[in-house]
Each structure stands twice: as C-alpha cells, then as structure tokens.
Symmetry: C2
Subunit: 337 residues, 2 copies
C-alpha cells in the first residue's frame, strides 16, 4: 500500500509538506498543494488512520456495545450513534454478543484496545462499581439505558417507573378495572421497574392487580403468546393488559384473538418501546415510545464532549427521559361499569 513517503518522493517535497496538505495545514504554498494533490490522486493514496491515531492520540472512532443488531431496539440505538459518528467524521466500532458480565467486559475491552474516543455502552450485567472504575479509564464513556448515581453525568436513561405509571393512567382513564400484566422473565431492572410503576399507580387509584394475572415470559413474540395462554388459563377475567414490550404485546394480541377475544373491544393491550413492529400490527399497537435513537444520539454527543479535554465536565447533568404514550388502536374505552 502506498504511503506518505511515496507521495513525498514523487511530488519532490518532504513528508512534512504532504502531511500539511493532507490536513489542510497552515502555511502551504498553492504550488505545493497542487503538486501533492496531483500525486495523491495518481497514486490513489489513502492515509493510514491507524498511524494517525498513534501519533495524534485520538482514534476518531466511536464504539458501541449492545447485545445484538437483530433486535430493532438495539439496531436503532446503533443507528443513532452512527448518525453522530458520521456527522463528526468518525467511524463506528461495534461490539455485540453480550450474554454475561464477562462478555460485556470483553466487548468493552476490545474497544479500549482500539482506543475509541467515545464509547456508548448498553450494559445490564456489569456491576455499578466496575462501570464507575471504567469511567476513570475511558473519558468518553457513556452508559445508555442505565442509571448509576455516582456517574449520573454519563448516564442516559429512561424512567421506567414513570413509564409504568403512564401506562396505568392511560388504562385507568379508559375505565378499565381488571388488569393483567406480562413482564419479562429476565430479572434486569427495566421490566421490574415498569411493573412497579404500573402497580403503584393502580394502587394509588385504589385498584389491585390479581397476582395470578402477572405473567413472566421470554421477551419475544412467542413469549407473549405463551404468557397470554397462561393468563387465559387462569380463568380470571381482565379487560386491560400491559405488556413488557411490543413484540410480546403482538404475541399477546395474536393469542387473545385466537381465543375469541377482540382487541381492543374485549381486551385492551398496551405495549412498550414503540418499535417499528407496533405500526405494522393489526390492530396497530398502542404503546409507550422509548426514544432510543434520540437517546443514543444524545449519548454519543455527550461522549464526544466528555472525551474532549477542553470542555470541563459538569457532574450535575441529568439525562432522564420519559416515555411518551402513543395511542393507536389496541387500547380503547371499557364500556362496562
């Protein structure tokens, strides 16, 4: 591969001069610029970013750590970060395959090896303390979808409790009295908090939810189907169903209709996340919008600030987001008194 030396030799100038035209450096004569540019074109020369990173001590890369790209939620996250990367003339480095604290740590380490200037990390398994220590090593570290008080200025998160409350208020306002819930079987905080917010708001309204009407399942379409079958099998009646995420909610609707229940006239179903799917389902899914792409963009931008030594960091920042109710077709007024 041709190097800066080749370009220098063929244009009859020093590598320093080539470097200057490469970087639009100050004080380069027009003549030099022209000569060098011509040779660069002829040789089809492309500067080596690794060498640059080495000497400048910045890699112009932005790392992302997510479980996978198949889940549209994480794909949106990555897409948001990528947008910022592109705008900032940086490159996106991606690490996935996270199933355990070890693999999360490994993914992060790979990005550190690459000396990413910014790292947007979606970690559910690593302990707070590890992440806090990590933030001392990586200036541009930002956590998304997680809140750790000690490093709150690096956390872009969604208020899941409030999300649960908003869900409850919506269903309550629709005159529902008998509720069911489907949560994720994975005991990470999100499903727990959503459920917690939901129940607490119901309680405030003087409504209790039958423990038999709280199911836990795989956070997938199938998981939603299975959980709904359990719900139905319990024999208890309910007119409103709050589901952990959209995929499960769509599975739930499927099973409900297969069993002769109309959505929303018999049973209202409310999802969470507002992924693409929710607009494709029939009936279109009412859900809570999780603005993950915007949050990811914000995360990337904050990482950029954090990694910039010139801007002093303000530790008092708070990046909490509140989900927004999106009323579509799967929830409706309950006419029964």
């Amino acid at each position: 591969m041709t190097t800066i030396k080749d370009v220098a030799r063929l244009s009859g100038v020093s590598v320093a001069s080539v470097s200057r035209v490469l970087n639009n450096g100050p004080k380069v004569s027009k003549k030099t610029i022209e000569k060098v540019s011509k040779v660069i074109k002829e040789l089809n020369y492309t500067p080596n970013a690794n060498a640059r990173a080495l000497v400048t001590q910045k890699s112009t890369t932005l790392g992302v750590v997510i479980p996978d790209l198949i889940d549209p939620f994480f794909a949106s996250l990555a897409n948001g970060v990528e947008k910022v990367a592109r705008k900032s003339n940086m490159q996106l480095l991606l690490s996935t395959g996270l199933v355990s604290a070890e693999s999360e740590m490994q993914a992060i380490n790979l990005l550190i090896e690459r000396r990413c200037d910014v790292m947007v990390v979606h970690s559910k398994k690593l302990p707070d303390q590890v992440l806090i220590e990590l933030s001392n090593k990586v200036a541009g570290l930002v956590l998304i979808d997680r809140y750790i008080e000690e490093i709150a200025h690096r956390c872009i998160w969604l208020d899941n409790i409030e999300g649960g409350k908003i869900a409850a208020r919506h269903l309550l306002a629709l005159n529902h009295k008998n509720f069911a819930c489907i949560a994720s079987k994975y005991q990470i905080d999100d499903p727990l908090l959503r459920l917690q917010g939901f129940q607490s708001e119901l309680k405030s309204a003087g409504v209790d939810i039958d423990p038999n009407l709280i199911e836990h399942g795989e956070p997938t379409l199938q998981g939603g189907e299975v959980a709904t079958q359990h719900l139905l099998a319990s024999g208890k009646r309910f007119s409103a169903l709050f589901v952990y995420n959209d995929a499960m909610a769509i599975g739930a609707i499927s099973t409900l209709e297969d069993n002769g229940f109309k959505v929303p006239s018999d049973i209202s179903v409310l999802g969470f996340d507002d992924v693409l799917l929710s607009r494709y389902s029939r009936p279109k899914l009412s859900t809570l919008n999780y603005p993950i792409e915007e949050m990811a963009m914000q995360a990337a931008n904050i990482g950029l600030e954090l990694s910039d030594k010139n801007t002093e960091l303000n530790k008092d920042k708070n990046y909490k987001h509140i989900p927004r109710l999106v009323k579509r077709e799967s929830t409706s007024y309950n006419p029964n008194k």
Copy 2:
C-alpha cells in the same frame, strides 16, 4: 494511558519480553510471564490496537458498508458479519448513510483509511468498473447482493429472477389466474429482476399480467398501502398479489382488508425477504426467504480468505443463492375455476 514501556519498567524486563507474553510468544519463561502478567493487571494495561496494526500491517477489523441499520434486512446483514468478526477475534467497523455513488465511495474510503482487512460492501450505486478497480486495492473486498462477472469470486448474491419464478410457480400451483404486482419505484436491479422472473414464468404458463395491475411504490408499509389503493382503483380483478418486499406486502394486506377483501381467501398475497415482520403480521405472511444473515456470514468468511495472502484465490467460485419459499398464511388455493 499506560504503555508497554510502563509495564516493562515495572516488571524489570524489556518491552520485547512484555510483547512476548502479550502475544503468547514462544520462549518465555514462566517467571517472566508471571511477573509481567501481574504488572499488567496492576496497571490495568490494555495494549494499543492501532500501534499493533501499524507494525503488523493488519488491523483485525472487518468493515461493513450498508445504507442503514433501521431496515431489518441490513441489520441482519451487519449482524451476520459481526458474528464472523467475533468468532475471528476481529472488530466490526460500520459505515452507513448511503444514498448516492458519492456517499458509497466515501464510506468505502473511510474503511480503507482504517485498513480493514475485510470489507463487506452492499453497493447499488457505484458502477461495476469502480468496484472492480477497488478490488485491486482491497484484497479482502466482498460484494453482497450484487453480481459483477469480472469479480464473481467476490460476489455473494441472490438470484432474484429465480425468486420471481418461484413466486409465480407457487401462485400458479394455487390455481390463481389473475395476477397483480407491486414493485419498488427505485430502479435498482432487484425489483426489476424479481418482476422479470415473475412475468416470464407466468408467460411460460400462458398467463399474461395486465399492465394496469403492475404498480410501483416506495418500498415501505405506506408504499404498499398506496400502491394497493391504486391497484384497487383500477377496477381490475385479481386473486393473487406478488409484492416486492414484506413491508410493502403487509401494507398491501392492510389496505386490502380495509376494502373488504379477505386475505388469503379473496386475495393471496406473497412477499419477499422474510424479515422478522412477516412472522408478526396477521395473517402471517407467505414470502420468499432471503437468507441475508447466512449470506453475510459467508461474505465475511470469503473476505477473510481473500485477505489472507497464503490462500491462493480461485476465481471460478460462484456464490449464488436461491430464495426459498416460505408458505405461511397469506396465500391459499383459489377455488374459482
């Protein structure tokens, strides 16, 4: 950030020795390994991948060029490449935002700057010749979803014509006689070829398709809805509808049912791609499976081979894939004679 020198100094050995234990080099005493490992842990040292890349002349990165991550099709593509990257202890570099030949070229150039060992490129806009020349510069270049004869050994592609034929055969076997089509308005080859295969197979069976029943639209849910409205507005009858992709097909079903047509009993609808959505729709979508993730993994693996100077390249390889019919619920037998 701590460097190999720091580690060497504190362990009382040379940088060469540290490098050896870092790379499990041969001929290192247990004692040295232990000493060095201890210091590495203490210092929390992480080797600099950029420096490594510079000296070894391999970046251990795998680049991907796709339009975006929001489209589940491309997300699957990226996910496939990522799987291979992880298995090979490499990192994924992602470039998106492709709308023109210029932006495609720019994305590719960024990856070249990074000296990616392998590049999996999804390019629809760059001319054949440019890609051919590029392949001389980048040993590990692989094209996905595109076929260029001169560099066929670098092309992993789907036979869209055959896909169209398979679609036609399926619908014909279901006793359909009156067909409609929705294609993408974008005049890239895929929609054209699918339509071409579809029509040619119909013709072989002695069936013609009314030109008024061929619509073109945006390749999205909404595009499918609009196109279907046009189809319906034409007043012509049809019992089978072949649609460019799943998103459009789901939009089509929506509009059909809104207009009183039952799918599949009144009209059969067949999609293409078999993205996640197709399993979530009601009725579940019959479609043609585009094994994009597998193809992406194959592409990455071939790129790996190509980038390895030790393996001589066999230019006679052919990586054509045939889509597979997935019968679900949106197509059925037409009882009318």
